[in-house]
Symmetry: D2
Subunit: 152 residues, 4 copies
């Protein structure tokens, strides 16, 4: 039991390190002021404030920026086992508007993992907890690590 | 025949005016340096250069920015009849990487229009013509115009 | 607490009655020998044996029959509040083959409900518990009941 | 030019032979009385009459049978180059009802082919030409032929 907990803690620490590495290497996360809220094995939660350069012509959050937040959570979750993994397909339903100035939060959860293919659910929520979008993501692992496993 | 051509030309001019209005009102298009290449009734083609703030951790175009380009073409095409229309659902397949510095082009084409619901195909291509992504979009019209129909 | 439980039990009984009504009225469920395993508010689990008339050219379960099972669970779950509801969109990932003679089980779970629009996750599993498919479904309520609410 | 035409004709004849072979081997096509209308390289058109065992609880064509028709066209189109190919993902929008007794037709068209991955558009239409459904399909080739290339 103690060993299992220790393994779980190590797996979660690795997941966190991978996400921090990806965030540091990418251009998008810093450009969007993305915040890593929580990362564990097969799971990630990130948030972002809807800025004026993220609004569409109706002055609400552009669907692509809602997708961007969900897709980022997806990336950190599907790379969390330190296997470099890319999105193959994503399917997103837009349910409520995201408001200007609002902090949106996206949660990514692993639903299934079969060989190199993973299926993830992402949900984007507003500050009041309402659902803004639901995404289904299909990932494919490339068979190489993201960070050096022994490193820290 | 001449009348049909004139109607078609007017419809296309309106489509262009709607797209220019949306682009001027939105925060995203200017932020991404989006370029309107062509807009007609039920059709739009836009392009964008992949900047360093659009790269993912692998230093290629972030999937969300590929989605953003396709989604923008989708928006201009589904609003082209001057009926305010929003994305309900989008389904995207990522097929090739987009390179840093490369100009990507997204083309949106109306496949079906049934009542207030439309289905669109978006294809994103690289400079060499290779397919970067294919998107299926589902739109819903809100029943009000985007711009004043008589205006110019 | 007791009242909540009673309300929950009544809601679940209604969900069951709606599913049984739909199954009795439809041509497909009986044709596929569909079995209602469990139906509750916002949830349904159904199963089906893969017969020879459900096989594709590779002699494994045809993807459309895997979809059919998931889609049936979706229908019973999204109609479970006794509001007639139809599928607008479905997005399915095929992950493992379904074998001839195998009993497949599909579970539908409500993820989000916003106005008339619902989002559901369906997962299809084989007898050994492996994931065969994952589906995301988007539903739209029609604003009328399926069965007479007071009936039994 | 004559050579190109001959090659095209041979490719189309092979596509037809592959589809006929798949249809003869599968349980589903004959069970649904599927009719091969036209098969060419990267293209297939099939039709089916909506029987009473294909109706849902509202007595219109079950969404899964509309999917089944589209998915069959998808299969014949993505196997048309005589490379055994399976569906990885499908995304379907339901736009109009299919009526009892109506012959529905599904057309599959190849949009993109990148390595082993293909993207296809399927559209299902009713007898009056209205669009019943639009599907986006993602295929993956398995790297082996369906029929013996030299055979007939």
């Amino acid at each position: 039991m103690a060993d299992e907990n220790m393994e779980g803690a190590q797996a979660d620490a690795l997941a966190r390190r991978v996400a921090e590495t990806l965030l540091a290497q990418e251009g998008t996360g810093p450009a969007w002021a993305l915040q890593l809220e929580e990362v564990r094995e097969g799971y990630a939660r990130v948030s972002m404030v809807v800025r004026s350069d993220m609004l569409n012509g109706h002055r609400i959050a552009h669907g692509a920026m809602i997708f961007a937040l969900a897709d980022s959570a997806f990336a950190y979750a599907c790379n969390s086992r330190n296997m470099a993994t890319v999105a193959q397909h994503a399917s997103i339903a837009f349910l409520n508007a995201g408001q200007a100035g609002e902090r949106l939060t996206a949660e990514a959860e692993e639903l299934s993992l079969v060989g190199r293919t993973g299926v993830y659910r992402m949900v984007v929520r507003g500050e009041d907890g309402r659902t803004v979008a639901e995404m289904q993501g299909l990932s494919r692992s490339l068979g190489r690590p993201v960070v050096e496993p022994g490193g820290n």
